[in-house]
């Protein structure tokens, strides 16, 4: 489905954030950050190192509370309560690791089961194949290359077909072929009406954004 010809008509989730500020002790990370990202859109969060891109992502996904301001998840005219946000989102972030002692399929199976995904085994295998990993490979994740690690994190994020995707430096450690594949994946998720927040410093990834929030640091 092309976004240009058939604008997204389904439910989808819109994220609105207003006047967000975050401070750790005396250090102000950012202040007065506002924005909105709707289904079928990609919000690119950009800024220099230490400007708070990852912090903003953790606030938007509900992992950390802002010092000031508010975040709303809207579905149609209704608001989704904060404790239910996790049911609707998938996330890839450098600071979030998978279980090193488990293999790729065991990792995905675990996340599928705790999320209550139906037909978990088939979905896990399909998700691994989608990112180019072999579901039958039994090597523990600690033996993976950094690129394979990143692909597995992406497989985990899209496993339950979430309506909202947070991608924090998703192309980190991917080779050029992997980055091409990632671009296609982001485009297909966007065209499927997903709401995507992309935190990046990569000029190529910034181009994927349909709107942008620039943090100054």
């Amino acid at each position: 489905m092309s976004r240009g010809i058939f604008p997204f008509m389904g439910g989808g989730i819109t994220i609105e954030f207003e006047d967000l500020a975050k401070r750790f002790d005396m250090r102000v990370v950012f202040r007065s950050v506002s924005g909105r990202v709707a289904p079928g859109e990609v919000l690119a969060v950009t800024g220099p190192n230490g400007s708070g891109k990852s912090t903003l992502v953790t606030i938007l996904c509900g992992l950390v509370r802002a010092t000031r301001g508010r975040v709303l998840y809207r579905e149609g005219s209704g608001e989704i309560p904060r404790e239910s946000w996790r049911d609707h989102l998938g996330i890839v972030a450098p600071a979030m690791s998978l279980y090193e002692e488990l293999d790729a399929l065991e990792n995905l199976r675990f996340f599928a089961l705790v999320r209550g995904v139906d037909d978990a085994e088939t979905r896990c295998r399909a998700s691994l194949e989608r990112v180019g990993l072999d579901p039958d490979r039994t090597t523990p994740v600690r033996g993976f290359s950094t690129g394979m690690h990143q692909r597995l994190k992406i497989a985990q994020a899209v496993l339950h077909d979430p309506q909202v995707l947070f991608l924090d430096e998703p192309g980190a450690n991917l080779d050029p072929a992997g980055q091409d594949w990632l671009e296609k994946l982001v485009a297909s998720e966007r065209d499927a009406g997903k709401t995507i927040v992309l935190a990046t410093n990569d000029l190529r990834e910034m181009e994927w954004g349909t709107s942008r929030v620039a943090l100054s640091g």
Partner: protein
């Protein structure tokens, strides 16, 4: 309910699988328990305590070994999630009480496995006379559960602290002191063959376990998410 059990079971299975591959908690608990038991049995043994003092002293020593072994390893399941940076993804994937249920089940199973190995060894090496095996099993099961449920919530609290050090033992001790007194009384009653003493101690231990379970259910979502 079934969905909750399946999800908590997944957390338990994941913890058990990673533990079987790293053996961090098993080694910590097992080594502490076996070393302490060896030291106690070598220095005190079955014959250096007067007959009349045996039920008191041997009951207390048994629970001291179990308690300190628990302190050595039962915080691992939460601490490991934070140390290996997997906690954030777990927070965003599983409901808080699912995580609590899975971690509690893991701690109960680890503690029960420890007691299955430790208690028969203790009975043999220390010459601990047990008049009611059923009574002892009930005291161990109830005491083990209450010890696990208390250490699980304390482990969740200390896991995010920057300087954990002795925090786990320091926070656990005041919460577990009443439990230790009741399980020692119950184990002594088992050695003396006092059914009334066993039932009275069991009531107290089960009540404590119930209170700690309710407190954990109320507290855990805030402890885990904030």
């Amino acid at each position: 309910m079934w969905r909750y059990l399946a999800e908590a079971g997944a957390v338990f299975a994941k913890d058990m699988r990673t533990e079987l591959r790293t053996r961090v908690a098993f080694n910590a608990l097992g080594l502490f328990a076996i070393t302490t038991l060896a030291a106690v049995s070598y220095t005190i043994g079955p014959y250096r305590i007067a007959e009349a003092d045996r039920p008191y002293l041997l009951s207390a020593l048994l629970w001291i070994v179990i308690f300190f072994a628990a302190m050595a390893g039962l915080d691992r399941s939460f601490v490991k999630e934070e140390d290996s940076h997997t906690a954030a993804l777990l927070r965003l994937s599983a409901r808080p009480l699912v995580v609590w249920g899975g971690k509690l089940l893991f701690n109960v199973v680890v503690l029960d496995l420890l007691m299955v190995i430790l208690v028969p060894l203790y009975v043999v090496l220390m010459g601990f006379e047990v008049r009611s095996i059923t009574g002892l099993v009930w005291i161990l099961l109830a005491g083990g559960y209450t010890l696990a449920v208390t250490t699980t919530i304390v482990a969740a609290i200390i896991a995010r602290a920057s300087s954990r050090g002795a925090l786990f033992s320091v926070l656990s001790l005041p919460l577990l002191l009443p439990l230790l007194i009741f399980v020692i009384q119950g184990t002594r009653a088992v050695a003396e063959g006092s059914a009334g003493g066993v039932i009275s101690a069991l009531r107290a231990v089960i009540s404590l376990g119930g209170v700690m379970t309710l407190v954990s259910i109320v507290l855990f979502p805030a402890v885990w998410n904030e």
